[in-house]
């Protein structure tokens, strides 16, 4: 019953969406507002209907209706309720429905806006949004139906939605269960965040396309979507950060980023999205380089579709990819259509997008932003090439090749170094004109402080010059931002005679974007500190120990104390080792690395025991493909200096972005509509 309701709701949503596009186009062509309003109304209705659909699927998942193929694929009797619900996005069909539902949510919010201004954009915004939704609904209805069920007929067991002739329904007793890797808390929240980021970018994209179609040359689309874009970008960033955290916590290779093709497909739109956020600044503040923002938002959206395509079509395989699927060809069709459509549109409107390009000074804010955009794009192109090259190579030579971390790191390291440098200078750079004397006056104090970034490591015995430069850049970036922040508050205090707190909050509210940007940059610089620590200075060792024996790494000694093996209620077998850790002879405590073996899927998951401080992480894994007993267990230890700063920096980053999206003071929501001229 629930499956029928769920599928019916899917179908109705599709009808509404098709109607909406038709009504919008008709209303636009005949200049009849009432048709466009009707389309807007249809947009509002889709979300509640699709919620019914997703609600049905959740109901089926929660109640163990294993006759539904998807439920049997991703849940099992032994899973706790919360995992059964989050299994919604554990497989292809469910995650596509989830995607459609999120998209419908954004469309709903867009439809709720007051549209008294910019009425000419409305029909096209509707068309672009609904066209995308229709595509994903078609995927769910005709290709990956989450409500298909199992039937038995003469040839065996088949799956389909409707009852095939001569087939009988069957009711399996249990399901296969969710992939154990997906049962970790990080893994639960990472997909929704990632999807929110991907889906969110349709909003600025649809407004941009609407602006192009209506041949407008103003900035309204940017002003309207500013808040949306920031939130979408925040979710995209969170998706990447959570993915990295999950990889570090669970995958057990002591790292956080593998330059895997699927990771890269999430990184690429982030790179162009960040470039867009910066280019938009020049666009708005100086009315220059307008084509850049338009092109960048289009590229970001296209990369999202591209990334989704290669992840879900079976074109690539990695830890991330979904099982092979039939949606490949139609997805490729959608990608090609979108690609050609947007490029043709951009091409035909290129002349009217023309805007001045004036950069007076190499250290002006415009110049720094342009350089940063070029750096982001440079990395983007390299990553893109690395992702598609294996495909090209196989077609050209028949040989498969791997494009792995060394390829990407070679380019990413200097580019991130360049971005770090820019982040250090940019708080001091003003628009259009910068005098070196002025710059020098502001720079000399933080510069001196930043030299600590070279002196301290040197004292500590570090001589690798790339690491020294990296540390100096981090110190410089932090120093400049902090000094500048304090300087501005001081000025305000002096002129207004206020206390520290009121100066701080007034200064912040006055120029919210600027200060949020500083906080965001500080967050990124701190993340860079963590990356430098682990990339330059990680050490590891592996060895097999009997109880009582020890392994040494750096100044640490780890002794294998004890082993517990037991079964848990949710169908797994846990081997939990107890190890004690000493540093320079001082006992630090105990860690509990363990291996969980999931009976249903036969897949083991290793959970490391980690001691994490601001200075370093001591990270112990039980090597699960070797036998684990008191006579001999194999441990792999990583020493990761400074890696905690990666997560601290991430927090600061998130705080900064949230502050940037905060409605400013009394103006509140109106600020999103009005914006500054």
């Amino acid at each position: 019953m629930a499956a029928e309701i769920g599928f019916g709701a899917l179908f109705i949503s599709l009808i509404f969406a098709i109607y909406g596009i038709g009504a919008a186009i008709y209303g636009e062509r005949t200049h009849r507002k009432d048709w466009v309003k009707s389309a807007q109304q249809a947009m509002r209705l889709i979300f509640p209907v699709l919620t019914i659909s997703i609600g049905s699927l959740l109901y089926l998942l929660a109640n163990g209706h294993f006759e539904v193929v998807y439920v049997a694929d991703v849940t099992s009797r032994s899973m706790p309720l919360y995992l059964k619900l989050t299994a919604l996005w554990g497989g292809q069909a469910g995650s596509l429905l989830f995607w459609s539902w999120l998209l419908a949510g954004f469309i709903f919010a867009v439809a709720l806006r007051k549209w008294d201004r910019d009425q000419d954009l409305l029909p096209w915004v509707i068309v672009v949004n609904l066209a995308t939704l229709i595509f994903f609904l078609i995927l769910n209805i005709f290709y990956e139906n989450p409500f298909a069920r199992y039937w038995q007929d003469a040839s065996g067991i088949i799956s389909s939605f409707g009852q095939p002739p001569g087939a009988l329904p069957i009711y399996p007793r249990d399901g296969g269960g969710l992939n154990p890797y997906l049962r970790h808390p990080g893994m639960i929240i990472h997909p929704p965040m990632q999807y929110l980021g991907f889906v969110g970018f349709i909003v600025p994209f649809s407004y941009a396309i609407a602006t192009l179609i209506t041949r407008r040359t103003d900035d309204r689309w940017i002003q309207i979507t500013r808040g949306w874009t920031l939130w979408a970008w925040l979710f995209l960033s969170l998706g990447l950060i959570l993915g990295a955290r999950w990889a570090y916590d669970v995958l057990g290779w002591g790292g956080y980023w593998g330059w895997d093709p699927v990771e890269n497909s999430a990184l690429m739109p982030w790179l162009s999205g960040t470039a867009y956020l910066h280019a938009v600044l020049i666009h708005e503040k100086r009315s220059m380089f307008k084509e850049w923002s338009m092109v960048l938002i289009v590229i970001t959206y296209l990369l999202i579709i591209f990334g989704t395509f290669i992840t879900r079509s079976g074109l690539l395989s990695s830890v991330h990819s979904f099982a092979e699927s039939k949606i490949g060809p139609i997805f490729l069709g959608f990608l090609i259509l979108t690609l050609l459509g947007t490029v043709l549109l951009l091409n035909s409107r290129w002349k009217i997008l023309r805007s001045p390009h004036v950069v007076q000074n190499l250290f002006s804010r415009e110049a720094l932003i342009i350089i940063s955009v070029v750096l982001f794009l440079g990395l983007l192109v390299t990553v893109f090439w690395g992702v598609i090259f294996p495909m090209i190579s196989e077609l050209a030579t028949g040989q498969k090749v791997t494009v792995g971390p060394p390829f990407y790191e070679r380019v990413a390291a200097p580019i991130f170094g360049g971005l770090l440098t820019l982040m250090a200078i940019c708080p001091l750079a003003v628009w259009s004109y910068v005098s070196f004397k002025h710059l020098g006056k502001l720079l000399w104090k933080p510069f001196l402080v930043s030299l600590l970034g070279i002196v301290l490591p040197l004292i500590g015995g570090l001589t690798r010059w790339p690491a020294l430069i990296a540390f100096w850049l981090v110190a410089f970036g932090l120093a400049v931002n902090i000094f500048e922040f304090i300087r501005r508050i001081r000025i305000r205090r002096r002129t207004e005679g206020e206390g520290w707190w009121s100066s701080f909050s007034k200064v912040f509210r006055r120029n919210q974007r600027s200060y949020s940007a500083m906080i965001i940059h500080v967050g990124v610089v701190l993340m860079a500190l963590g990356v430098i620590g682990i990339e330059f200075f990680q050490t590891e060792t592996q060895g097999t120990l009997a109880e009582g024996q020890a392994l040494r790494l750096s100044s640490y000694t780890m002794t294998y104390e004890d082993l517990d093996i037991f079964d848990t209620r949710d169908a797994r077998n846990v081997a939990r080792a107890v190890v004690s850790v000493k540093k320079d002879g001082q006992k630090l405590g105990e860690l509990y690395p363990r291996k969980d073996f999931y009976y249903e899927s036969g897949i083991p998951v290793t959970i490391p025991g980690v001691r994490s401080t601001l200075l370093d992480d001591f990270y112990v894994i039980l090597v699960d493909w070797k036998e684990i007993s008191s006579e001999g267990a194999t441990f792999k230890i990583y020493h990761n200096p400074l890696v905690k700063w990666l997560w601290i920096g991430a927090w600061v980053f998130v705080v900064g972005v949230v502050m940037a999206t905060w409605p400013s003071g009394k103006k509140g929501l109106k600020a999103l509509n009005v914006g500054k001229l």
Binding site: R117, W253, V381, F389, T402, F407, Y433, W625
Partner: protein
């Protein structure tokens, strides 16, 4: 002179040390350590499961491959020789990067050309976008609105456009 002698002695001892490390392990029975095996394995990728480095892969097959590395190390093979062996057995995909030969040159050439090209375009761009000397002496502005008369006209035109659009929209 003393310095020179010292460096010769240093070099010699370094060579002796290296040789002793690579001499076939007859005296010791333990063979190459896990770390030595992992050092080579981390540079190779699992031939079957894509994009997983050999030291992190938990399958039976990967365990066997690490066993091969261990044996070869014990026989005195160098890292490069072991990598070449894996490539001969399983193909180029076992390496972390495409080997630089034939078609795979493109893997490195294209990003290099694009990055260099981008830099060149940037330099040329900055040259083109620089305003003439006379404007550089004007004081810095706080708000938008360049004072170039040509652009002012554009700005005026746009304001008029928007006003028209708004009055049209009201109807």
């Amino acid at each position: 002179m003393k310095k020179f002698l010292r460096s010769i002695v240093g070099l010699l001892s370094l060579c002796l040390l290296t040789v002793s490390v690579f001499r076939p392990v007859s005296a010791q029975e333990s063979g190459p350590t896990d770390d030595e095996v992992n050092a080579v394995a981390s540079q190779l990728y699992c031939p079957v499961c894509e994009n997983i480095p050999l030291d992190a892969c938990g399958t039976v097959a990967c365990e066997q491959w690490r066993g091969i590395i261990r044996d070869k190390l014990a026989q005195g093979w160098t890292e490069d020789e072991i990598k070449d062996y894996f490539v001969a057995q399983y193909g180029d995909r076992v390496l972390a990067e495409p080997p630089v030969q034939g078609f795979n040159w493109l893997a490195y050439l294209i990003p290099f050309m694009v990055l260099v090209g981008g830099l060149v375009l940037l330099v040329f761009g900055f040259r083109k976008w620089r305003v003439t000397e006379s404007l550089q002496s004007t004081p810095p502005r706080r708000k938008t609105g360049l004072q170039d008369p040509e652009i002012d006209q554009e700005y005026l035109r746009k304001v008029e456009e928007e006003l028209e659009a708004r009055t049209r929209g009201r109807g």
